[in-house]
Symmetry: C2
């Protein structure tokens, strides 16, 4: 089974990487880019029977810094 | 409107960051993690009327290194 985890900076946390991308897109002539947030996506190949609770625990312990980041888990 | 872009290393391209995460999860006692790939997710706030073709062009020109990375675009 597979799990996909998205880790994004929480709203209100400054995202300098996203700001740099927004600025660079403007400089390349792409108008109308009003905001950019950049995060991580982590694709996990898991043994059958792994539960969503275990994936959440991986996020809490390692994958996300829950002080400033939020995460979402999709199993497939 | 919003667009979400996923940028992942292509299959066959070594992903040391993913390998490090896999190793760290094992060290934390999470068994059954067979593979990890890590990529980027970029959320764009776009002016109304921006087309998917324009977002693809942003990916080709800036967001992804298409030599080693593939990207997918979701508009919403």
């Amino acid at each position: 089974m597979k799990a996909r985890v998205h880790v994004m900076l929480k709203n209100g946390v400054l995202d300098p990487q996203g700001e740099a991308v927004r600025h660079a897109l403007g400089a390349l002539g792409f108008d109308g880019v009003e905001g950019v947030r950049q995060g991580k996506v982590i694709e996990l190949d898991l043994a059958a029977g792994t539960t969503e609770a275990q994936v959440n625990e991986m996020c809490e312990k390692l994958l996300a810094n829950t002080v400033i980041e939020s995460y979402t888990v999709e199993l497939s």
